[in-house]
């Protein structure tokens, strides 16, 4: 495993009137150069907060970064000044947001928006930038690129907009792309097109992708490795094959059952729907309330992310027991 991108002990919270609410508590996450890493979690598990934190765009306050490191090429992004981060955004790390309808500025033409980003990041003149913008639009496989440039966002369809957004995100040579549920608000047929495009561009431009989704099925189709995020913690991570074929964490098991095609037995929805009270810290495993396999130990201490075999890591006492590993308790 190289040290391309690593997150260590990242703790992010939000200040609320009832005290600090913990949103992210990531022990460890590593992404290799050139791979597509899928991060799966239900809404509210902290996926988008993680994406914003990486780019240094988390609004502070109310957000608070309590501790941790985000290492990118060996450098800690959390220690960088805003001016340095600005040079990384767009040029090194870029992001695609979930909702193509609201991600483009409604009062500028598409062309103006791409050209501004290109000119700003590359310092070239307008003519060159226009040429580059045309190339980018062709790259994301939109026909009639010249015509698209002079359109306003509201004149384009959701799929077209998402392609434009991908074009903007990749227009300045970013090598690391964070895709935050890029197909969430699109029709199924268009979803497939966008996924295919991301996969192709990844190969063509050799970018590394952090693919965030709420659907394990989607992730298994496009990613090399996955991480399962539950209430701000990674509970299981490994290659797609490892996690799908041999899920170790009860939460992953439930998620897999929730994919309609895999559903052979009836699942207990009441457990899935049960959510913990906001901000309630028991000190135990965060999945305790919903876990079908819980035992007394789980309510007292929190399991640490531990390798079970090869690159497959899991944070569950029961899984440790089954694999014959000593208990690892998180701090």
């Amino acid at each position: 495993m190289d040290n391309y991108f690593e997150i260590k002990d990242l703790k992010v919270g939000f200040k609320t009137f009832e005290g600090i609410k913990k949103v992210l508590d990531l022990e460890f996450l590593s992404i290799c150069k050139g791979e597509t890493f899928g991060l799966v979690g239900e809404s509210g598990s902290g996926k988008s907060v993680l994406a914003l934190t990486i780019l240094g765009l988390l609004p502070i306050p109310p957000g608070i970064i309590e501790s941790g490191q985000i290492l990118y090429g060996g450098e800690d992004l959390l220690k960088k000044r805003e001016e340095e981060m600005r040079k990384i955004r767009g040029k090194k790390i870029s992001m695609i947001f979930q909702d193509p309808m609201s991600t483009l500025n409604p009062v500028f033409t598409v062309g103006e928006q791409i050209i501004r980003v290109i000119r700003n990041n590359e310092g070239i003149n307008r003519k060159q930038a226009e040429k580059k913008a045309l190339e980018m639009i062709e790259l994301v496989k939109l026909p009639d690129a010249k015509n698209i440039l002079i359109k306003y966002p509201h004149e384009l369809s959701g799929g077209q907009r998402q392609r434009i957004i991908i074009a903007i995100a990749l227009s300045c040579g970013a090598e690391f792309l964070i895709a935050d549920e890029p197909t969430r608000n699109l029709d199924v047929t268009i979803q497939a097109g966008i996924l295919k495009l991301i996969a192709e561009l990844k190969k063509e431009l050799k970018v590394t992708v952090l693919f965030i989704a709420n659907n394990l099925g989607l992730v298994s189709a496009v990613c090399n490795r996955v991480g399962i995020l539950h209430e701000g913690r990674i509970v299981e991570t490994g290659t797609v094959k490892e996690v799908i074929k041999d899920p170790k964490h009860p939460y992953t098991v439930t998620l897999l059952k929730a994919i309609p095609a895999n559903r052979e037995e009836k699942i207990d929805l009441s457990r899935i729907l049960l959510r913990r009270e906001n901000g309630q810290e028991t000190g135990g495993c965060r999945y305790f309330d919903r876990c079908p396999e819980r035992s007394g130990q789980c309510s007292k201490s929190s399991p640490s992310l531990t390798p079970v075999d090869g690159s497959h890591l899991v944070a569950c006492f029961k899984a440790f027991e089954r694999s014959g590993i000593n208990e690892q308790t998180a701090s």
Binding site: F14, T16, F17, E18
Partner: protein, 297 residues
């Protein structure tokens, strides 16, 4: 059943809401300060005749020997051209200003709420006519309308009040109409209609009571602006007439003397400023507290 209704489990969201409101109020020192100021102003308005050091000066006996004296221990805000205590008059002015503003807004509500409720609940051409009239009134500055109306009605405080009410009601009509349109579609109104309740009973029995709360809140936020408008009318000679201790009128009269008696115009003016500022800040603060966008954390 009722036991369950009020159990802590059921009331949790409401309790949380209340806690959040108190927290937001506490966080915003400016809002708290303005709230205290408003409470003090109301106290002054009620107690003015009793706490004024020279109650007889309020409406007027002249004391020529104490004419235009600067602030001193005897007259802390100085005296005016007739030798009256400016402090006593400014204090009493609180009562006049608040009274005028509350009555004017009340009158505007009395016109605005029924019209808005009728427009929203009835729909069709009735709605169209009422709202077009409202548009006409809304399409020029309220002070201009108030000045024109007050000028034509004749200069006195009652007419100024009436003029303000006439130029202010359309805001409430618009607000109530919006509410009424949404309430019209609610189940209990449809149910009332289904059992044959007369239309006017639906409007005043069901719709008005259900849309009154936000209008009252809006109206209390408007008090600052109304106080300023009333003072402006009096300043132009279109509101209170001498010897009424109205702030705007006092500033207006002071214009003949202020170059050598700064206190005479200064204190009534600062009284207007503090009062309007307190109401505006309180309104801003309350709006922020009630805004769902700022409530999210």
């Amino acid at each position: 059943m009722f036991g369950k209704m009020f159990s802590p489990e059921v009331l949790k969201p409401q309790i949380r809401e209340l806690k959040l409101s108190i927290y937001l109020l506490n966080k915003n020192k400016l809002t708290r300060l303005s709230m205290i100021t408003v409470i003090l102003l109301i106290a002054f308005a009620i107690l003015a005749p009793f706490i004024a050091p020279y109650p007889s000066h309020i409406y007027g006996i002249a004391n020529p020997q104490d004419k235009l004296l600067p602030p001193s221990a005897k007259y802390i805000f100085g005296t005016d051209e007739l030798g009256r205590d400016v402090f006593s008059r400014v204090l009493y002015g609180t009562r006049i200003s608040l009274q005028t503003a509350i009555l004017a807004v009340g009158l505007a509500l009395l016109i605005g709420i029924p019209l808005g409720a009728i427009a929203g609940a009835t729909g069709g051409y009735v709605d169209e006519i009422i709202m077009r009239i409202t548009d006409i009134f809304l399409s020029f500055p309220p002070l201009l309308l108030a000045i024109a109306i007050a000028a034509f009605l004749g200069p006195n405080l009652q007419n100024a009040m009436l003029a303000i009410a006439i130029s202010w009601w359309p805001w409430y009509t618009r607000l109530v109409r919006g509410q009424a349109v949404s309430i019209r579609e609610r189940q209990f109104v449809k149910a009332a209609k289904a059992i044959g309740t007369p239309h006017f009973k639906i409007v005043f029995g069901h719709i008005v009571p259900n849309c009154i709360a936000p209008v009252i809140v809006q109206a209390s936020m408007d008090l600052g602006g109304v106080i300023l408008t009333a003072a402006s009318l009096s300043f132009l000679g279109l509101g209170a007439q001498p010897p009424t201790p109205e702030w705007g009128l006092m500033v207006s009269t002071s214009r003949n003397y202020f170059l050598n008696a700064w206190w005479y115009s200064f204190f009534p003016g600062i009284a207007i400023f503090i009062t309007v500022l307190a109401f505006n800040l309180l309104g801003d603060g309350l709006r922020e507290i009630m805004d769902p966008k700022t409530r999210k954390y």
